[in-house]
């Protein structure tokens, strides 16, 4: 990031790569959690990529060489994890489901990052009535139960049911709308802080345009916390997708495999003691969310000096003052996403802390 280290000793390149650096930086329990998370996430991504090779059958396949699969077959034999009430192979649908999950997660998070970052940057940088209006709208949307908002969006986009890409985009856009306020808040809060920094003022004195300051000076520094929110949101995206699927906004089984949909269909199985149709898709969700959350939490803790150190946490809290952005990383942190949300509330709740607004 800085130029002054050009002649100084540089660590080998691979140790400076984003995740590798953090693994090396971490110790003990924290490293354990990070590594476990990375392994689970890695397996999930590989499963999604190689789903066509790994899955014994197609996600919508109902018959094999020896006739139809039959409904609610117990695990074993040809169907390692049994078959569903609809007569699909459970293992295949669990494996194919990872593809749907990852697609929705990536689309949702990328869309919401773009929209949220752009809005937050403009709103925080220019301030004024636009900022006020956006803050109130985002607060309102943010306060609202994510799932309900996603349901409303689902009704609007697809009328409730749809095919593969229609379904994936409906789910992704529903989730995007829910996430935009989160990115908006974090980026706006950072922008409001950063624009008061000396280097932004110097850039302005030098005659840099607003656009250049926003993208070159503010955005670069404001996005440091994004990878953390990214991982935490990716898991939330999956949970929302599964929730949507569970209440019947899923993607039809003939177009793609979706874990939430399968759990919905297994609801009545449970009452009659059939456990395999719900257990495996459910476990898949839990594992993936667990893996991604472990990575996100660990990165989050490592980025926060108070949580990183094993020794007297109070003493290291002063680090913030010497960092590029006073209070920058510290604000986005403790307690995972809740910490992020809670602390990003602060600028809205205490407008007088903001030197630009306390006129």
């Amino acid at each position: 990031m800085t130029v002054e280290t050009t002649h100084a000793y540089k660590a080998p390149l691979w140790t400076r790569l984003p995740v590798v650096h953090q693994v090396r930086q971490s110790i003990g329990l924290q490293r354990g959690m990070l590594v476990v998370g990375l392994v689970i996430t890695g397996i999930f991504i590989l499963t999604a990529i190689f789903a066509p090779l790994l899955a014994p059958y197609g996600y919508s396949q109902l018959r094999g060489d020896s006739g139809t699969f039959g409904a609610q077959q117990a695990p074993g034999g040809e169907h390692l994890l049994g078959t569903t009430v609809g007569g699909y192979d459970v293992l295949s649908r669990v494996i194919w489901g990872s593809q749907t999950a990852i697609t929705v997660m990536v689309i949702a998070v990328v869309l919401s990052i773009f929209a949220g970052v752009a809005l937050g940057l403009v709103s925080g940088y220019f301030g004024g009535w636009l900022d006020r209006v956006l803050v109130v709208i985002c607060d309102a949307v943010y306060a609202f139960p994510a799932l309900l908002l996603a349901i409303v969006m689902g009704i609007v986009i697809s009328g409730g049911r749809s095919g593969l890409w229609g379904g994936i985009f409906a789910a992704a856009i529903s989730i995007t709308v829910v996430f935009i306020p989160q990115y908006f808040r974090v980026i706006r809060a950072e922008t409001v802080r950063i624009k008061a920094e000396a280097y932004v003022e110097s850039a302005r004195v030098l005659g840099a345009s607003n656009g250049r300051i926003m993208f070159r000076h503010v955005l670069r520094n404001a996005t440091r916390t994004l990878p953390l929110i990214f991982t935490l949101n990716a898991s939330e995206a999956l949970l929302t997708l599964a929730g949507l699927g569970f209440i019947g906004f899923g993607i039809e089984p003939s177009s793609a495999a979706e874990w939430g949909y399968d759990l919905n269909k297994s609801l009545s199985d449970v009452t009659s003691g059939i456990w395999w149709t719900s257990l495996f898709p459910g476990l898949a969700i839990v594992l993936v969310v667990l893996g991604i959350t472990l990575v996100g939490e660990s990165l989050n803790d490592l980025a926060d000096p108070r949580l990183r150190s094993r020794r007297a946490p109070g003493k290291t809290a002063g680090v913030a003052a010497t960092s590029v952005v006073p209070g920058g990383t510290l604000t986005a942190g403790p307690g995972g996403i809740d910490g992020l949300e809670a602390s990003s509330l602060a600028p809205d709740q205490h407008p007088n802390d903001d030197p630009f607004e306390a006129k």
């Binding site: 329990l29 003022e201 449970v270 009659s272 003691g273 403790p334």
Partner: protein
């Protein structure tokens, strides 16, 4: 913008330097501002839902489209006033919401407000039980994790907290159901009470709709026990989801306060360790905890929709899904609008509590 360079340097993150300069002050003024902020929130959410739902067409066509001929539909649409300009309908709707009138459901032809009251109480009951579970599980465990930071209990509890968060509430519900209701047969599978108990409560002269109170009023211990047993699994499923959040929150905040000098001072005065954590370190950590608990109301309501569907708990969430299936968008809109009001109100209440506890919060 030219005056920017003249501005004094920003005080880093701290709140105190600006304290003196803040205008007005006083808790009354603060509460008034907070209270007034409820209205834009509700207004925005209600408007958003109205416009979003209307992009799918008028509610009558959506609900009865396939079932009636175009002529009959046109008559119904005209009777309900959906053929008027959309802005007229919008302002009429806003006015109705303001007076608590949410329209009439299309599928069951009942006033939406009546539906909201009946099923809202069931949801409130579930959320209340879940909060109890979350408090009992989350807060003490969070303190334990903070005290034994980076030790075995902390490691275990952190994974537990993440698992609570990572498990979709409906999956937790399905597992609980499978183990306790189907395999062990110690708890009921679904519903809020058995048919017998519901009948007994039905004939109460002044029934409240809150089963806990109604069951007490019957004076029949069997009914009361039945109602409580039905609540255990849904409350656990929804409560554990929130407990994980509480645990992490309490842990992080107590870790922060445990490192402060006054805790060291208290320790050197010989305050015992239990008191140190549960009083000295926990109290100041309460403010961020309460703020986030306020945000959990949204999570709880979203979770309630899924929990109710899993356990056939006939509350707002369960009905919401039923209405969506019936494509009864008037009812959906009403439920969503009511939930928006609840969220806005609970955020207001949380702000009040936070202000009462910590004078620094007021500006």
């Amino acid at each position: 913008m030219t005056t920017v360079a003249m501005k004094p340097p920003a005080p880093a993150a701290g709140r105190s330097p600006k304290k003196k300069a803040s205008p007005g002050g006083g808790i009354g003024r603060y509460l008034l501002i907070r209270f007034l902020l409820i209205f834009p929130t509700i207004f925005i959410l209600v408007s958003m839902v109205f416009w979003l739902m209307r992009t799918t067409g008028d509610p009558i066509t959506a609900a009865l489209g396939g079932k009636l001929g175009p002529d009959q539909l046109a008559v119904l649409i005209h009777e309900a006033g959906y053929d008027r300009p959309i802005f007229v309908q919008y302002f009429e709707y806003l006015g109705q919401v303001f007076t608590g009138n949410f329209g009439t459901t299309i599928s069951t032809n009942r006033p939406v407000s009546e539906v909201l009251l009946t099923y809202g109480l069931a949801t409130a009951e579930l959320v209340f039980y879940a909060l109890i579970v979350a408090f009992i599980v989350g807060i003490p465990l969070g303190m334990v994790a903070a005290y034994w930071r980076d030790k075995a209990p902390d490691a275990f509890l952190r994974v537990f907290a993440i698992l609570c968060y990572a498990t979709p509430v409906f999956f937790a519900g399905l597992l609980l159901k499978l183990v306790f209701a189907v395999w062990l047969k110690v708890l009921p599978v679904a519903g809020r009470a058995t048919v017998g108990s519901e009948l007994e409560m039905q004939f109460l002269p002044d029934k409240t709709g809150i089963y806990f109170i109604d069951a007490l009023k019957t004076g029949n211990p069997a009914v009361f026990g039945d109602v409580l047993l039905h609540a255990v699994l849904p409350a656990l499923a929804l409560g554990l989801l929130t407990a994980g959040v509480f645990l992490r929150l309490v842990r992080t905040n107590v870790i922060g306060t445990l490192g402060t000098e006054y805790v060291t001072a208290a320790r050197s005065r010989g305050v015992n360790e239990f008191r140190l954590v549960s009083k000295h370190a926990y109290r100041p950590a309460l403010i961020p905890i309460i703020t986030v608990i306020g945000l959990q109301v949204a999570l709880l309501l979203g979770g309630a929709v899924l929990t109710e569907t899993t356990f056939e708990w006939k509350g707002l969430g369960f009905m919401l899904i039923e209405f969506i299936k019936a494509r009864d968008f008037v009812a959906v809109q009403g439920i969503v609008a009511l939930l928006a009001v609840i969220v806005a109100l609970s955020n207001f209440i949380v702000d009040i509590i936070a202000a009462l506890i910590d004078p620094r919060v007021r500006y």
